[in-house]
Amino acid sequence: MTAPLIEVRNVSRLFVKPIDLAQQIANAFGAHQRPEIVHAVDDVSFAIAEGEVVGLVGESGCGKSTVGRVVAGVLDPSAGQVRFRGRDVAELGSEERRQVKLKTQMIFQDPFASLNPRMRIGMTIGEAPRHHGLVAAEELDAYVDDVMARCGLEPGFKRRYPHQFSGGQRQRISIARALAVKPEFLICDEAVAALDVSIQAQILNLFMKLRAELRLTYLFISHDLGVVEHLSDRVIVMYLGRIVEMAPTEELFRRPVHPYAQALLAEVPRISKRRSRFAPVKGEIPSPLNPPPGCHFHPRCPHALPRCRVEAPALREIAPGRWAACHLNDTP
């Protein structure tokens, strides 16, 4: 296998809410208020090969968006490294780092919030390539037309404003904006979640077309397992900040190993499942402020052992290309 395009090594990201004035005063009188710390991402490692589509799934609060933002360079990791083409991004000089950031683009969930409402869409798409000197000023117009056409937008619409477009078309504008800087790696954070079903298929087809035409690499973050199954080569499943399973898509969907992945796949509503007797997994997703000790999933796990309550299982390769973090894999 060639060197991965992106490698994430032992990345953690904490968010700290410092104690406020009232709590400081309370502490002066002997209270024990501590800053609140959320381990949004806790020691996560994975690699993405060039041209690969990796799906990242999990429920709310599992840290999947934070992983996306750390990989994109929007957030710095609290610990660990993000490596782009084998080089630690944090150690690059500012010019090189800017280049890496340009090669990595992000597409967000809400195309109503991610576009500047006061900017004509031709400007929105053309601004970044012009600013970074990717395209000569006299060619910019033709270049924007070209990018818009590639994303299924009528180039004649480029003097319009975002509010004149529907949700699906706005998402095409966001994609065109991301593509305009000639990225190699796209991070899509719930990029089709806000779209209607009939529009969702159009956008997914666009992602697949662009992948084939431009040899793009994707990190596709979604809570929708049907979408991820369709698009991804490999899938990473996260639960409360940690990776619980990582496997090629077909194998994961055929035979998930981790009890959480099993539960998650069993709950996915499918059109072929009729009047099913839902047999839901028990319990709630715990608060990431105060996750359970040991394996985070043990309070809900039907197979939990005493060991699961004290010791967090490491993510291990249990078969070629298949990784899982579960103590059950140690017991034959």
Binding site: D196, V197, H230, S272, R274, R275, F278, V281, E284
Partner: protein, 324 residues
């Protein structure tokens, strides 16, 4: 089977500054006791307005312009507000997408539940509290006695939605209208709520209208499905009929575009174009600009055909025998 609700030719419109928008246009369906009807449609298809119309929650500039809503043989359209109040919450209840729309953030759960009991029944507070407790237990909230004293913000999203459902159940209504109640929830939590809802409906013989954009959820939950597009009900029938043998090209296209119905990695079958604006709907079939089967006949209002009892399709060229 006893029919709980029959909607006939319902037409609800909103007067906007750009003209009158008919959000629900000539919609007819019925729900029996103990039955779950799924209403499926995309944003702007009129599914929520249909639900609101049943509960008499259409406020100006909107109004019900025509049709009848027969609830246990009494027409709810045009019922005076004080009479409607006797129904709402008592015999017809609603569950909304966002439970914070139902719950008051500054009151404890017990206050709110007891208030709902007393609004319709003359019982003492002890009995009311008991009923509130039982309702929480019914929807699977652990240790309901302690949880009664909590505020809404102390519950997670899934638990809040359970409280909202418990509130809907307090008076054992004959009909519950649920508008996207699990859309904001995580998959495993959604699974738990669908499980409880299905059990409750069958046990208490409550009729349930489940409004959703998600065909897959409806497939697993409902007995019958009605599909809406641009304010019109384009197809209805049993879940198996509609989802396995869709007759309307829109339903068929929608089912065909689901990733799980496509070969992995291959382009998805897609419906071209976009959902039309209700403001400038041209005459004839609203789907015709996106439809592969459209021809000159679709410029006329499409006819409704009833191929079998309980099965209905509004199309000039229905797919015969289904298939997509």
């Amino acid at each position: 089977m006893a029919e709980t609700l029959r909607v006939e030719n319902l037409r609800t419109s909103f007067l906007t500054k750009w003209g009158e928008v008919t959000a629900v246009d000539d919609v007819s369906f019925s729900v029996d006791a103990g039955e779950i009807l799924g209403i499926v449609g995309e944003s702007g298809s009129g599914k929520t307005v249909t639900g609101f119309s049943i509960l008499g929650l259409i406020d100006p500039p909107g109004r019900i312009k025509g049709g009848r809503i027969l609830f246990q043989d009494e027409d709810l359209v045009g019922l005076p507000e004080n009479r409607m109040r006797e129904y709402r919450g008592k015999r017809i209840a609603m569950v909304f997408q966002d439970p914070m729309m139902t719950l008051n953030p500054v009151l404890r759960i017990d206050t709110q539940l007891i208030e709902s009991v007393l609004a319709h029944d003359k019982v003492d507070r002890v009995t009311a509290r008991q009923r509130a407790r039982d309702a929480l237990g019914q929807v699977g909230i652990p240790s309901p006695d302690e949880r009664l004293a909590s505020y809404p913000h102390q519950f997670s999203g899934g638990m809040r939605q359970r409280v909202a459902i418990a509130m809907a159940l307090l008076h054992r209504p004959a009909l519950i209208v649920a508008d996207e109640p699990t859309t904001a929830l995580d998959v495993t939590i959604q699974g738990q709520i669908l499980f409880e809802v299905q059990k409750l409906c069958k046990e208490s013989r409550t009729a349930l209208i489940w409004i959703s954009h998600d065909l897959s959820v409806v497939a697993g939950l409902a007995d019958r499905v009605a599909v809406m597009y641009a304010g019109k009900l384009v197809e209805q029938g049993s879940v198996d009929d509609v989802l396995d043998r869709p007759m309307h090209p829109y339903t068929s296209g929608l089912i065909g575009s689901l990733p799980s119905n496509n070969i992995r990695g291959q382009p998805l079958r897609q419906i071209p174009g976009m959902t039309p604006s209700l403001l400038n709907l041209s005459a004839g079939c609203a789907f015709r600009t996106r439809c592969p089967r459209a021809d000159a006949a679709c410029l006329e209002s499409p006819p409704v055909s009833v191929p079998a009892s309980g099965r209905e399709v509004r199309c000039a060229h229905p797919l015969v025998g289904g298939g997509s």
